[in-house]
């Protein structure tokens, strides 16, 4: 194979920013077969495979990319799926620039290989050509039962891996639809829900049962899963569902949303299609989103699509520290989102009816590095000013929901409410209970949650084999 030595990635076709800022259809349209083959040929096939070490689920990257270069798309997909149960999702939402692609040799001079775009391409390809797909091997049932709490990326990964090993796996979901943050949080235009459902169906096809409307810790406790329901092990992947607020005056005014509420109304409940769907949302003309992560970008871009004329991202550090994926920031800017960086809210003001009318912010400057290693933002005295707005969305992070830890004796958590686990195995302080994803780390990424789900599945397998 002759390597393609072009320095830049094949760009991915996208909806025009002016058009897409007013619809909820997917922004990135995906590679054609020709583009994918051309991009795959940029891979040098390094013997040391540095990219694989950058992937939390160790996708066999050079192997699948080589098959793409040969036009063997279904075979490439099978290689990806051997370690990753949700490739169409990962190809769209992973922060590749800080993972696999950050280790790519081609990135030293020029742009790395577009690994994420290729992963997406092969996953979409087999979804469109199911007859070509090589079905994964499932070991015979071993008679052991595992309960998985939460059907987000951690839970689905853990469930899929255990089902392939022959376990009888049941996933319990608190909401009415499975997928966790993939369904309620990440918007349609970034991760189409039909695709999420299709990818979840591939996990179900491995034999995994998913039970919605079941709040573990309320309807059934973890103890009861063992004692009454006969499960041999439990994996807790219940996510970070508890929204944080800033604690500034005015946060309970009408028009102030947590990002969770704003995104759940919009995505899970499809408020963008009100009144055809029954759940409403109000945005008004100007929306301020507080925070700089992927969730903040999602909320900002939803607000624009819901009809806001001006949308601000208000973030207390500088552009360099924005935790969002580079591509999300780029897309948000293209869509006209206004960035007020080094800026922090001090209070939200309301009118006589208690409805948001403006937000006071203060300018910040970066001081000495803090515990996270990032330079600590410090307020510039006297630099306050007011942004008139109708909606404020607080997107400064989430903490784990206390429902499970408060109803499971012996399950320890740290002072942030995150479950305490052994990092290598996902083992909690309760025998037979494993955990991973945001319930352990606090709000992080889809792929880190999947990595944790995968590790826990391997540990549960080891535990139950020896039991």
């Amino acid at each position: 194979m002759s390597a393609n030595m072009r320095m830049t990635k094949n760009p991915i076709p996208e909806q025009d920013p002016q058009v897409r800022a007013h619809n909820f259809k997917e922004v990135a349209l995906g590679y054609t077969a020709e583009m994918a083959i051309d991009e795959a040929k940029r891979c040098m096939g390094c013997a040391k495979k540095p990219c694989v070490s950058g992937c939390p689920v160790n996708v066999r990257i050079p192997e699948f990319v080589a098959l793409v270069a040969e036009g063997k798309f279904a075979e490439a997909a099978a290689i990806v799926k051997s370690t990753n149960n949700l490739p169409a999702i990962c190809g769209r939402v992973c922060p590749q620039e800080s993972q696999c692609e950050s280790k790519c040799v081609r990135g030293i001079k020029g742009e790395p290989v577009g690994i994420g775009r290729l992963e997406r391409f092969v996953a979409d390809y087999v979804m469109a050509h199911p007859e070509e797909e090589n079905k994964p091997e499932i070991l015979p049932k071993n008679g052991k039962k595992v309960a998985v709490v939460g059907s987000g990326p951690a839970g689905l990964t853990c469930a899929g891996d255990l089902a392939k090993l022959g376990y009888d796996v049941t996933v319990f979901e608190a909401l009415h639809a499975p997928g966790g943050v993939l369904i309620y949080g990440i918007p349609e235009f970034r991760l189409p829900k039909d695709l999420v459902r299709a990818e979840i169906a591939t996990v179900e096809a491995l034999g995994v049962k998913i039970i919605p409307d079941m709040v573990i810790g309320k309807c059934v406790t973890v103890d009861e899963l063992f004692e009454e329901e006969g499960f041999d092990a439990v994996f807790v992947g219940s996510g970070a569902g508890l929204p944080n607020f800033q604690g500034i005056p005015g946060e309970n005014l009408l028009g102030v949303y947590s990002a969770n509420e704003f995104l759940t109304r919009t995505n899970l409940m499809k408020a963008y299609d009100f009144p055809n769907h029954d759940t409403p949302i109000k945005v008004g003309k100007v929306a301020c989103i507080v925070g700089g992560g992927n969730v903040a970008m999602d909320a900002a871009r939803c607000a624009k699509r819901l009809g806001a004329e001006e949308v601000y991202i208000v973030y207390r550090r500088s552009e360099k520290e924005l935790p969002a994926r580079a591509e999300e920031v780029h897309h948000a800017k293209e869509e006209g989102i206004i960035f007020r960086l080094l800026t922090n809210p001090t209070q939200i003001m309301g009118d006589e009816n208690g409805v948001v009318k403006s937000m006071e912010v203060i300018q910040m400057e970066l001081g000495e590095p803090d515990a996270s290693g990032r330079r600590r933002p410090v307020p510039k005295e006297g630099s306050e000013y007011v942004i008139d707005c109708d909606t404020v969305v607080i997107a400064i992070g989430n903490s784990p929901n206390p429902l499970i830890r408060s109803t499971t004796p012996g399950l320890e958590s740290n002072k942030k409410g995150c479950l305490v686990v052994d990092e290598e195995t996902g083992k909690t302080t309760r025998e037979g209970v494993y955990a991973g994803g945001d319930a352990v780390t606090g709000a992080a990424t889809v792929i880190l949650a999947m990595g944790a789900g995968k590790k826990a599945a391997a540990s549960i397998h080891e535990y139950l084999q020896n039991k």
Binding site: A174, H176, M214, C219, N252
Partner: protein, 281 residues
């Protein structure tokens, strides 16, 4: 799917339904609530658990037709089923401390149906229960026999006096507060305005008053914060920290404003309902 096994019209606006939901019935306690969704396009709404039968596996909900979803719910009949029915959610009411004590339960509007399981639970525990309920007129009075069996003294009032006992529930409460000096607690359930009025009456006397906050909710599991209420200056989530709170600490004015957040959208939804029902109100 969660089948409707019994439906009764308690009065023209209030409907009683028993839903087959064994997992919910198994754990349900007074004070808790469920979230339901009728169909694929439907919103998730919270309703207080009005009763449960652990053997039959049923949970009772009693609701008033106030908006699009409750009107639509009322069009369903025995044999139909709800798409989603999740619970029990929220904290159960804490009643053990009232064993052998004198308490007053006040229910107004739809709140009477929700106050009933509370009165019943307290009565069965061995508290001495005075139960004050209010309706607009005598034709709207519901569950009177059940109420009688759930308390020591029942006071039924009507706004127009058509049952011979005129006044709001606060009128009866005021009289009771004059006569009775050993109330350990007052439990008030109903419209925010009523709960606020009750709290204003009990505050000067220092009688502990528990209210049940019926905030707007989306998920009902602590995830979104739509239901936030201010209690003693702190923000709480009604869905996981409540729904019961110390009424003397609750910011009712804020709660009333937040409850009206989507009034305009609710009207728009109701138009849709009226179209489907062929213009019928």
């Amino acid at each position: 799917m969660f089948p409707i096994v019994t439906k009764k019209q308690l009065n023209p606006t209030i409907t009683y339904m028993e839903i087959l939901a064994p997992a919910v019935a198994r754990k349900a306690m007074p004070g808790q609530f469920i979230m339901l969704r009728i169909n694929e396009d439907g919103e998730r709404i919270p309703l207080t658990i009005a009763g449960y039968d652990r053997e039959k596996g049923t949970v009772t909900i009693i609701f008033q037709k106030v908006g699009y979803t409750t009107y639509t719910l009322d069009t369903l009949n025995e044999g139909d089923a709800l798409l989603d029915f999740v619970g029990p959610l929220g904290c159960a009411s804490e009643f053990e401390q009232y064993v052998g004590k004198h308490v007053c339960v006040v229910g107004g509007g739809l709140g009477v149906a929700i106050a009933y399981p509370q009165a019943k639970a307290l009565h069965e525990l061995g508290a001495k229960v005075d139960f004050i309920v209010g309706f607009k007129n005598k034709d709207l009075i519901i569950l009177e026999d059940e109420f009688k069996n759930a308390c020591e003294n029942l006071f039924v009032l009507t706004d127009d006096g058509s049952n011979g006992n005129k006044g709001f529930v606060t009128v009866a409460l005021e009289e009771q507060l004059k006569k009775v000096d050993d109330y350990e607690a007052v439990i008030a359930i109903g419209p925010l305005m009523m709960m606020k009025a009750v709290c204003d009456m009990t505050r000067p006397k220092g009688i502990k008053t528990i209210v049940s906050m019926n905030s707007l909710m989306v998920d009902g599991t602590g995830m979104c914060g739509c239901c936030r209420v201010q209690v003693g200056g702190e923000t709480k989530f009604a869905c996981v920290d409540g729904p019961d709170f110390d009424g003397h600490q609750v910011d009712f004015d804020l709660a009333m404003r937040r409850g009206r957040m989507y009034i305009a959208e609710e009207k728009e939804s109701m138009k849709k309902h009226e179209c489907r029902m062929g213009g019928a109100k």
